[in-house]
């Protein structure tokens, strides 16, 4: 209880634009407004084809609802601040970075190479140093997964420098 109270107090002492409540509400409202603006560019259907409401009406209503509810949670958070989460550790950011590396490698080089690189990167950064286990997660397991999906599910994976060796 004391910890929660201390965290709340710590959160209260920050200027409003540094508080989680403001940052989260601002991001939600900002993105919702951009999406709301984009709904005005949706094609308008002539009345003869229009069934009930225009295609843009429903998303518009949802976005207005999201903005309104977000303003309410922000208003409520002034009286009752949110708990502040713990600072995110380095491993979190490295894991996030590994996702980015995965996207780049899977697009530019090879889907399975990307899985292997991510697996070894994550496993190593999370503290694994034993060579066998690093090989297990980065090579042996992805190969088993590949064989399973390829033979049992009959799946064809996207072409890439390693996948092509198997297919051609």
């Amino acid at each position: 209880m004391n910890n929660v109270r201390n965290k709340k107090r710590a959160n209260k002492s920050l200027p409003f634009f540094f508080k989680d409540e403001f940052k989260v509400s601002f991001i939600i409202v900002f993105i919702s407004i951009i999406l709301l603006i984009s709904t005005f560019s949706f094609d308008i259907v002539p009345p003869i084809l229009n069934r009930g409401i225009q295609p843009a009406t429903f998303p518009k209503a949802l976005l207005i609802l999201i903005i309104s509810l977000t303003l309410i949670i922000y208003y409520l958070s002034i009286k009752n601040p949110w708990k502040m989460g713990k600072k995110l550790p380095k491993t979190f950011f490295l894991t996030l970075l590994s996702f980015l590396i995965f996207v780049i490698i899977s697009k530019a080089l090879d889907f399975f190479l990307a899985i292997s690189v991510l697996s070894i990167f994550v496993s190593y950064n999370w503290g694994e140093r034993r060579i066998f286990y690093l090989l297990l997660v980065s090579i042996i397991f992805p190969i088993l997964v590949f064989i399973f999906f390829e033979t049992i599910l009959g799946l064809r994976f996207p072409p890439g420098i390693i996948t092509n060796l198997y297919y051609y």
């Binding site: 984009s38 295609p55 949110w82 979190f92 894991t95 994550v122 297990l136 997660v137 980065s138 599910l153």
Partner: protein, 484 residues
Amino acid sequence: MLTPLFSSKLLIVLFFGTLFGLILGVLPGLGPTTGGALILPFTMTLDPLSAIVLLTSIYCAGTYGGAITAVLINTPGTPAAAATCLDGYPLAQKGEAGRALGMATVSSTVGGIFSVIILVFFAPLLAKLAYEFGQPEYFALAIFGLTMLSSIGEGSPIKNLIAGAFGILISTIGKDFMTSIDRFTYGINELSVGIGFIPVVVGLFAISEMLTQSTLLDQVFKRVALKAVKLPTKDDYKKTWKTILRSSGIGSFIGVLPAEGGTVASLIGYSEAKRFSKNPEEFGKGSIEGIAGAEAANNAATGGAMVPTLALGIPGSATTAVILTGLIIHGVRPGPDLFREQPDFLYGIFGAMLIANVLFFIFGFFGAKVFARITLVPNKILWPMIFAVSVCGTYSLSQSIIDVWIMLFFGVLGFFMRRFGFSVVPVIIGLILGELVEGTLRQSLVIFDGNWLMFLTRPIALTFFILSLIALAFPLLRSKKQKK
């Protein structure tokens, strides 16, 4: 009821589904929802009944499996087992881990079987009632389902509503199903077919959990030693039979309502067990009634949640949303017609749930010690493997790399949603109900010639709207009462 299951193939599926469900339930961070979503692509090799039997057995066993880690390492394997930690772990620390797990196993099995009986009787009744439903009634029902998320879901009701609305918004991405107008596609061809359910579920559950685990690497689990699971004594039964029955009823009822199913059911089951107990002071210190109350309720929610899923096509929980997707992928349309046209299929599901409850009792009783050892697999090995399966599973459904990127996007989003107190379950429910909400609204407006007030002339729809208002007002009334 069991006749459709008398095939060796189905029994093998049931056996492995229960086993796999238990393993998923035991592993903190995974669970029946993530597991179901990951296994969904594999079900494409099975016939529809086997596929749904696999998913439902994972659901039943996974819900129970969470209790094993809750008792032995004070970490709920699934969110539904959170209330089990409160008394399970203290009792285990007193050297009675076997007794705690025995009670968890028995009460889970009784709760699960009780809820299957409710499912068998109530699902056909609800399906019959659904014949009276037209588009306006389905719209009102879907709105009621979404508002229930705010009132009995976990966390802030308003945040739950935002998450639900966001889920519906995701369902509007792609070509409008009535006019074929592109919405939120921004010229990306792959988005014109909309966003698939699996990338969102796997992202929000598995990938966001991977990110969460990356922040918990310094966490050390203290495992309590377990010699063997012990069946409850006569004295334990005397103390708990009323609690088990009450929690089974509560769990089944909560399960029927679209919400976070087992999680909420176990918390209510636990608090009601404490309220009716002759020894409420023992709760939190290793009360056997506390374990029975929480476990009977969370497993009873499984059958309850299947009632609206099968009868109306409206999921009662996140896992039943995955099962519903499984049904749709396999060409089975849930709803009243399913009860009329494919009774054998339904009896197969009912029977599978019944057998899964018996099977996890056997597995849990004899194998809890082995399953508990699964938690020893280090996260640094387990999660990269889960990532590989998640990526391939997500890719396999429509063989689209865009789906994999969508999964990663929702993984990151899900992590931050959870960090700031937004539950991800309403997003899933919103996504699956989105098309129903919009479609029925627009069709109703066609029927009503654009007159919104005509909704109020339909008694069933009006009833659901009134219930929705009550559901929205409920959290306000509850917080006022708590302040008093």
